[in-house]
Amino acid sequence: MRLAVKPAMVRPSMVSQVRLMSGGGESDAEFDSRYVAYFDRSDIDGWEIRKGMADLCAMDMVPEPVIVASALRACRRVNDYSLTTRILEIIKVKCADKEAEFWPYIMQELKPTLDELGILTPAELGYDQPELALPNPYEIH
């Protein structure tokens, strides 16, 4: 199924020069390739994947599927399956109110990687809805 409209970027397109702190303005493509290179390092470890993803998700944007794909491949290299599920969950959360527009596109772009690595989406695991309830520790009397 092809999407009728494929967004050019999952970030708001009005933003072309972002991240003033990186000294001189970086284009979106440079930003993407920097993160893809970070996750593609063969000697990356779980700590670095988590830190990179946490920093990425702290930014006011939805990461491009290429970055997510390289993060998922990095999880494969460190043999951490549950991290892939968490990454997919947080990307979906990051889409926020544009989820209906972005998420199918992201899933479409990630499908080859998911199939290649044998990763189930959170929805396939049943984690798109709450499964277990946790009592609020402050309300236990």
Binding site: W47, R50, K51, D80, L83, G118, L125, E131
Partner: protein, 193 residues
């Protein structure tokens, strides 16, 4: 600084002398020298759980949060069934069943993000308790009226006295533009229809 968890591969020997000074002050000198991994700021016993990341602020604690979705430690210790799954995890993930994948997830994480964000229904108790509070206030007023406030003065309850006051207000032309006497027709000597 002392509270940060660093990657295992980073050599800490450079900061160790400074760090052991800090830890000597903070912890009474008991842990002046140890393996080289920095201590978290707050002393939390995490058992055998594996430290896997930076977490929200560098401390080795488990917190589920959408703002910091990758906790610093796994949720459960690697023991028993989980150890066997970790071995299987090193192989092809297509060979893991859905249940095994779910067990692995719950070993690393307490709640899914859907569960973290799920509505709690707390608004119902907030609304209910607020309305109970308002009701207590209304009952309080009724009690005050019944037992505390004195009688309303005669100048308000007496019909004739009220009429006399209104006649006086008409004579004084009180609020003649938009108020009381704007509704009185002075030429005909009666209220406007």
């Amino acid at each position: 600084m002392a509270g940060l968890i660093c990657k295992n591969r980073v050599l800490l020997s450079r900061s160790a002398p400074l760090f052991s000074q800090l830890s000597a002050r903070a912890y009474g000198g008991g842990d002046a020298h140890h393996s080289g991994l920095p201590l978290p700021q707050t002393k939390v016993d995490i058992g055998q759980r594996e430290v896997v990341g930076f977490g929200g602020n560098g401390e080795a604690t488990y917190i589920d949060s959408v703002m910091a979705p990758f906790p610093a430690i796994r949720f459960k210790e690697d023991a028993g069934e989980i150890m066997a799954l970790r071995e299987k995890e090193k192989g092809d993930w297509k060979k893991l069943t859905k249940e095994e994948k779910k067990v692995l997830y719950r070993a690393s994480f307490c709640q899914t993000l859907a569960e973290v964000e799920a509505p709690t229904g707390e608004w119902k108790s907030v609304l209910g308790l607020t309305l109970v509070g308002i009701s207590i206030g209304v009952w309080g007023y009724l009690w005050m009226k019944a037992f505390v406030y004195g009688k309303v003065p005669d100048t308000i309850t007496n019909e004739e006295k009220q009429k006399a006051q209104i006649d006086r207000m008409i004579a004084m032309r009180v609020n003649p533009i938009e108020g009381l006497t704007s509704n009185y027709d002075y030429e005909k000597g009666q209220w406007k229809k």
